[in-house]
């Protein structure tokens, strides 16, 4: 057996699970474990953390043995733009109001697609912003300020 990662998909999923398992173990060190008759808050997280770490390790190790397909290419543009869209939206909702938050959200998400046409962006924003003001703020009475004043 060669020590070469033949199945990247399996390897990285194993590592991800191992990571989550160890993360859970590290966090739950602070919680009281107790005994199996009287379990403390730390008992179950530690148990699940151990199981997940072991399982993650097995999945990662198995990837050396079995051939697998490559992971599809990642579209960084879409990831970055959608991440920005939600980050700005969250910030803007708290600071500068619904209208601008919506506009930022729509602009960023439309930039995640192939190309951005300015006219499309303006029309989409107009439709979506007025539509959601009518639906959410007047219809469902959500307490969002429209602007920062």
């Amino acid at each position: 057996m060669q020590w070469k990662i033949k199945n990247k998909e399996e390897f990285w999923s194993g590592m991800l699970f191992l990571g989550i398992g160890i993360f859970a173990l590290v966090i739950s060190r602070d919680y009281f474990i107790g005994s199996s008759a009287r379990m403390g808050p730390g008992y179950f997280p530690t148990l699940v953390g151990i199981l997940l770490s072991i399982l993650g390790g097995i999945i990662a190790l198995r990837s050396f043995g079995v051939e697998g397909k490559e992971i599809r290419a990642v579209s960084w543009r879409a990831i970055v733009m959608l991440t920005l869209a939600f980050l700005i939206f969250g910030w803007a909702m708290e600071k500068i109001g619904f209208v601008l938050a919506m506009f930022a959200m729509i602009a960023c998400s439309m930039m995640a697609g192939k190309k951005l046409r300015l006219l499309e962006l303006l029309i989409m924003s107009l439709v979506l912003i007025t539509g959601s003001i009518a639906l959410f703020i007047y219809g469902l009475k959500l307490p969002f300020p429209l602007f920062w004043w």
């Binding site: 919680y31 179950f44 199981l51 959410f136």
Partner: protein, 498 residues
């Protein structure tokens, strides 16, 4: 049995009010839309609509969300037949013969038979719920902590076995879901766990946030990556001139519809199986049983009638374990269970006895909803087709903004938006690594109950884990779980599964 009629009367009394009929209508209408539109599944859609139901009475909220779920099954078949693109994974097999029928100018009969089959299956499983539900609940009333723990363990293992992809990864997803479910204040000791000092996490992670991230955000990101666009599809709309199937069509379909109904209603009960598996099973059965198997794939009406009845039958009967045992068997049911809990109803066998109006109202509303769908679906086909022609680049910003508003409205704080983003990116990573998210969300919902029952069982037994094996019912569940695991681990079965 003799109580059935007063119960159904109570159900009608609850479901057939103007308000609840309206919510049922909104639910099935939105559901059909979700089913038609590619790139948004029922789980994400339920998560999006869930925050708007907080202020509604519980019955109305559940009626609407349930309508959304089974409406999506109907909608999914429409796109399979007309554009060879399944709106939902449960309609994948409908493409095979449905689209061929449409190509031959028989889109009308195909759509009609799908709707009629779905209605028959829906009616049957609604009846099944009203018989089996109370009976199951009566049995489970005797359960205590060890039985519940083993039952949930079996349910989770079942969902892992029936998930797509390697078994080990599905089990790892379950464990991950259990960890996410632990976030929040520990009920027994009041200790905050996995909250990282964030006050927003003291009550745990909201299922809306998790589901919208893992199913909504991740799905859209994946679609964008594939350069998804609905433009330029081959729409077979001009050819719908006659809608109604001929007598011959009906004769050929009645067998497949009845068999599909039986297959779907049964498979829907199993954890993790649900609509997808049942539609494939039904197709295989019809192909084997048909007199002209060579016609399958070339527009055989049996290939539409069977699977479409099966997926709707299964969609309805997945409600049985959720409502009576408190065990969700699919991602969508996990959200329905979450909705119950948000409305302060403790899931489990007591739902029927403590909230009879809720249970029977929901059961009857499902039947009413199916009737609405049957009436709505055919006349509205023109509308759905037009909706399909909306390019994806207009669609996804709309879905994203709805998601953002929905999540923000949970707490009116940016925190929940950021948390959704985090789960969205994680969900995307899981998708990329071919890890199916459904077992995760099931474990997330069940997690706190699994832990609670484990703790209680071990307290009763003074720390002796044998308690799960010495009690016969509990041992039965665990043995069944192990049998499923061993059976699936056999190499031959494992291969056919993939």
């Amino acid at each position: 049995m003799e109580e059935l009629f007063p119960n159904l009367a109570l159900g009608f009394h609850t479901a057939v009010t103007i308000q609840n009929l309206a919510y049922c209508f909104i639910g099935v209408f939105a559901g059909t839309m979700v089913g038609v539109l590619p790139g948004i599944g029922p789980v994400a859609a339920i998560a999006m609509l869930l925050p708007t139901t907080f202020h509604l009475p519980t019955v109305s909220a559940l009626i609407m969300l349930a309508g959304l779920f089974y409406g999506a099954q109907y909608g999914g078949s429409t796109t399979s037949i007309l554009v060879n693109l399944p709106g939902e994974s449960s309609s994948v097999v409908t493409c095979l013969d449905g689209y061929q029928m449409a190509k031959k100018g028989r889109a009308g009969p195909a759509l009609a038979i799908a709707a009629i089959g779905s209605f028959i299956a829906g009616t049957f499983s609604t009846m099944l719920i009203s018989f089996a539900g109370p009976a199951l609940a009566k049995i489970t009333l005797e359960f205590s902590a060890p039985e519940y723990f083993s039952l949930m363990a079996m349910g989770l293992i079942g969902s892992a076995v029936l998930a797509q992809g390697p078994l080990l990864k599905a089990i790892a997803m379950i464990l991950t879901g259990l960890i996410f479910g632990m976030a929040g204040t520990d009920v027994n000791t009041g200790v905050p766990r996995f909250t990282f000092g964030a006050p927003g996490l003291a009550d745990g992670i909201s299922i809306v946030v998790l589901a919208m991230g893992m199913f909504g955000f991740a799905e859209i990101l994946t679609n964008l990556e594939k350069g998804y666009d609905t433009a330029g599809r081959d729409l077979l709309t001009k050819k719908i001139d006659h809608l109604y199937p001929s007598l011959q069509d009906m004769k050929e379909s009645i067998g497949p519809i009845l068999r599909g109904t039986a297959i779907g209603s049964f498979l829907g009960l199993l954890p993790g199986a649900g609509p997808v598996l049942s539609s494939f099973t039904s197709y295989a059965v019809e192909k084997k049983m048909g007199k002209h198997p060579e016609e399958f794939g070339k527009g055989a009406i049996q290939g539409v009638a069977g699977p479409e009845s099966a997926n709707n039958g299964a969609a309805q009967s997945t409600f049985i374990p959720m409502l009576t045992l408190g065990i969700p068997s699919t991602g969508a049911m996990a959200l329905m269970l979450g909705a119950l809990m948000i409305h302060d109803i403790a899931p489990g066998p007591e739902v029927i006895s403590k909230h009879p109006d809720l249970f029977w109202g929901l059961v009857v509303s499902m039947w009413v909803g199916n009737a609405i769908l049957l009436l709505l679906n055919l006349p509205l086909i023109g509308l759905w087709v037009r909706l399909l022609q909306v390019p994806y680049r207009y669609l996804f910003p709309t879905i994203l903004t709805m998601m953002a508003i929905g999540v923000y409205s949970l707490t009116n704080q940016a925190q929940s938006v950021y948390l959704m983003l985090l789960f969205g990116l994680l969900g995307y990573l899981f998708k990329k690594l071919n890890c199916e998210p459904a077992p995760l969300i099931l474990a997330f919902v069940l997690g706190p109950m699994v832990e609670e029952n484990l703790r209680r069982a071990m307290l009763i037994s003074h720390g002796d884990p044998m308690v799960f094996l010495t009690r016969p019912i509990s041992a039965g569940f665990l043995v069944a779980a192990i049998l499923i695991l061993v059976f699936m681990a056999l190499p031959k079965v494992g291969k056919t599964r993939e």
